[in-house]
């Protein structure tokens, strides 16, 4: 499991997407309000200016230029409205009336034209430059009239509005992201806790349960259901364990009595043939007993009724030990042996079962690999898995038979004369591998058999 999933976590992605979406929506909303407000303000000024220009035109038509000058003087004295700018000029643009000292330089005279220019104003004893929007009118083809508004306040208001909008969008997005991140963290923490618990359950600790909080949310509903399922699983496993125990007891007790009787008859022989009769019977009995043990071991491993797989075991170390145990026997049969093992290869599991797995593979080599061939045992780390390989250059197993070889009681070699094999060795190997979450494959070693077992590495595992 990745302890820091970052962008790979679906909840994080969801939180980011929601963050982006809400930022977009808020920007659109505030942007629209901004544009609308600016439009309304603009239209208001335009209509006021137009109304004034019209009223001046009316005054000019009724009272002539003197009327306009009087009205303008009156207006400029009382400042008809805030930020109003008027100028009446003659045909050579010399000011006649109004509150501007001169005709703005860069304004071209266009009848009924809209113009923008800047004026110098004095606010709180400071000289500042203000923008003005105005309309130009030609009165009787002789006088120029300029009616406009100092838009400084409007621009400042709009600017403030824009800044506030930007802050609003930014802060909201941040808040959404923060909330999303918190929610995502909480969710992924719970999911990770679920995964860790399930992981240890899979590894055999059936007593673990998912935590149910008081929130009664979907997670709790899920936990409750999963826990009910686990209760059932635990009960079934208990039943199975008891059943396997009963089977062991009921089958081994008669074998035990039988063996004791046979041993007793050997101690107290009724005739010279007793030894001859009893010894093979005892050997046969021991074989039955071994087969039974192996079957029970397979059943336990397959059902997970065995102990928890919580220990960390160094597979490389176990491999070295088992090689040391079996190599002399192989060498005695003139089989070359080689060991290639990495320093350490930690897996979750049980040392005794892993040793049993290796022993079965090496005993198979002892039984089936002819003299002059070689056996290689290899443990190495590959990405996040640990690979155990036992390869020989013996007769191998035909591709068609490899799948079958892992099933119980299948003996591929003609072993009717051979009493050593129970036909369960590879089945037990497969069961132990499965119990450890490992995949087992039989491959062609060109020539010979190569058994490859891939274990998940236990390094860096959480919980």
């Amino acid at each position: 499991m990745n302890p820091n999933p970052g962008l790979r976590s679906s909840t994080t992605r969801l939180a980011l997407a929601y963050g982006a979406l809400s930022a977009l929506l808020i920007s659109a909303l505030l942007g629209a309000v901004f544009l609308l407000t600016r439009g309304v303000l603009q239209r208001e000024i335009d209509s006021r200016v137009s109304a004034e220009v019209e009223s001046f035109t009316d005054v000019f038509e009724s009272d002539g230029i003197q009327g306009v000058t009087d009205t303008l003087d009156k207006r400029t004295d009382s400042w008809g409205r805030l930020g109003a700018v008027y100028l009446l000029a003659d045909s050579s643009l010399n000011p006649l009336a109004g509150n501007l000292t001169a005709w703005p330089k860069d304004v071209r005279c266009v009848p009924n034209g809209r113009v923008d220019f800047r004026i110098v104003a004095i606010v709180n004893d400071e000289t500042v430059s203000h923008p003005v929007e105005a309309r130009c009118e030609h009165l009787a083809g002789q006088y120029w009239l300029l009616v406009g508004t100092d838009t400084n306040d409007r621009e400042r208001t709009l600017h403030r509005f824009a800044v506030a909008t930007a802050w609003g969008v930014g802060l909201t997005s941040l808040l959404v992201l923060a909330l999303g991140w918190r929610y995502s963290r909480r969710t992924s923490r719970r999911v990770r806790a679920f995964a860790a618990t399930c992981d240890s359950i899979v590894r055999g600790d059936l007593t673990r349960r998912l935590t149910v909080s008081s929130a009664q949310d979907e997670f709790d509903a899920l936990s409750t259901t999963v826990n009910a399922m686990l209760d059932r699983l635990e009960r079934q496993t208990d039943t199975l364990r008891t059943t396997l125990g009963s089977i062991a007891h009921d089958l081994r007790t008669p074998l035990y009595r039988l063996r004791m009787r046979l041993e007793e008859s050997l101690l107290d022989p009724k005739g010279p043939e007793t030894q001859e009769l009893v010894a093979p019977a005892m050997a046969e009995l021991d074989r039955v007993q071994r087969t039974l043990s192996t079957l029970l071991e397979i059943a336990r491993a397959e059902s997970g009724a065995g102990s928890a797989m919580q220990q960390q075991v160094d597979l490389a170390h176990v491999a070295r030990e088992m090689y040391e145990l079996y190599a002399p026997g192989l060498q005695e049969r003139d089989i070359h042996t080689r060991l290639e093992v990495t320093d350490s290869a930690m897996v979750n599991g049980q040392r005794q079962l892993l040793a049993q797995l290796l022993a079965n593979l090496l005993e198979n080599a002892l039984k089936y690999v002819p003299a002059g061939c070689s056996v290689l045992m290899d443990v190495h780390v590959e990405h996040s898995s640990i690979v155990l390989m036992v390869a020989d250059t013996g007769p191998g197993i035909a591709a068609a038979d490899r799948e079958r070889a892992l099933q119980p009681f299948v003996r591929l070699h003609d072993t009717r004369s051979d009493s050593t094999g129970s036909g369960l060795g590879l089945s037990l190997v497969a069961a132990i591998a499965r119990l450890h979450g490992a995949t087992l494959t039989l491959e062609d070693n060109h020539p010979g058999l190569r058994v490859v077992c891939r274990f998940p590495s236990s390094d860096g595992r959480v919980g």
């Binding site: 125990g245 007793e264 043990s293 065995g306 040793a355």
Partner: protein, 225 residues
């Protein structure tokens, strides 16, 4: 030597008692867990043989109860439950040894002997000596007739195990369990291969062999001269 066997199967108990008495032990029998615990607490035994699956009180609980009460009588657990982790469970509960039914009687006797002689070291020493074979436990060296023997680490451990039990039968499973710490039945003669290697170092070229094979049981290291 006074033993108590707790075994509910009457026939098996009778065989067990008979065999043990023939081997020179005094044997008491208990047929269920409660009686067994009671007897084990009341009397002083040298060794307890406890079956796991018993009526009223199971074998491992008996061992745990005894151990919790400070009773450290050696316990040999006998059981039809023989999977690897069941054996380990038995040893963890406080059993000193674990034997799966059915077993060879020789195996049982060898294990009983080993348990009875355990902790009876005659003298505290850093050297083990059998005839002219000498092991220096500090220097981890072995000499015979004063000549240094060249042993691998496993051969040294094997020899140490045998020398610490001089005169006792040591079975193959005992060797596998104690020297290799492995709890399964090998289907091939792995132990014999290691023993023959050890013998070739320890006995070859010397007049009197010290390591002997005991038929149907295992090995014994002793000075027969």
């Amino acid at each position: 030597m006074h033993l108590l066997a707790i075994e509910d199967d009457a026939e098996a108990a009778a065989f067990l008692a008979k065999g043990l008495r023939e081997s020179g032990y005094t044997v008491d029998l208990a047929t269920d867990g409660r009686d067994g615990l009671f007897q084990a607490t009341e009397e002083k035994y040298d060794l307890l043989i406890v079956d796991r699956q018993l009526p009223h009180l199971d074998g491992l609980s008996i061992v745990q109860l005894l151990r919790n009460n400070g009773n450290h009588t050696p316990v040999l657990v006998l059981s039809a439950l023989g999977s690897v982790d069941e054996r380990i469970e038995g040893l963890r509960a406080g059993g000193d040894d674990y034997l799966t039914k059915p077993f060879a009687f020789g195996e049982l006797i060898a294990r009983i002997e080993a348990l009875l002689r355990r902790g009876q070291a005659t003298e505290v020493s850093t050297r083990l000596r059998v005839a002219d074979l000498e092991m220096d436990l500090l220097g981890r060296t072995v000499t015979r007739e004063g000549r240094r023997l060249d042993l691998t680490q496993k051969e040294y451990q094997l020899l140490e195990f045998l020398m610490r039990r001089t005169g006792q039968v040591v079975t193959r499973t005992m060797l596998l369990e104690n020297v290799w710490d492995l709890h399964f039945d090998p289907q091939t003669n792995v132990i014999d291969v290691h023993m023959s290697r050890l013998r070739s170092v320890v006995d070859r070229g010397f007049n009197t062999p010290l390591i002997h094979t005991v038929r149907g049981a295992g090995y014994i290291l002793r000075d027969e001269s």
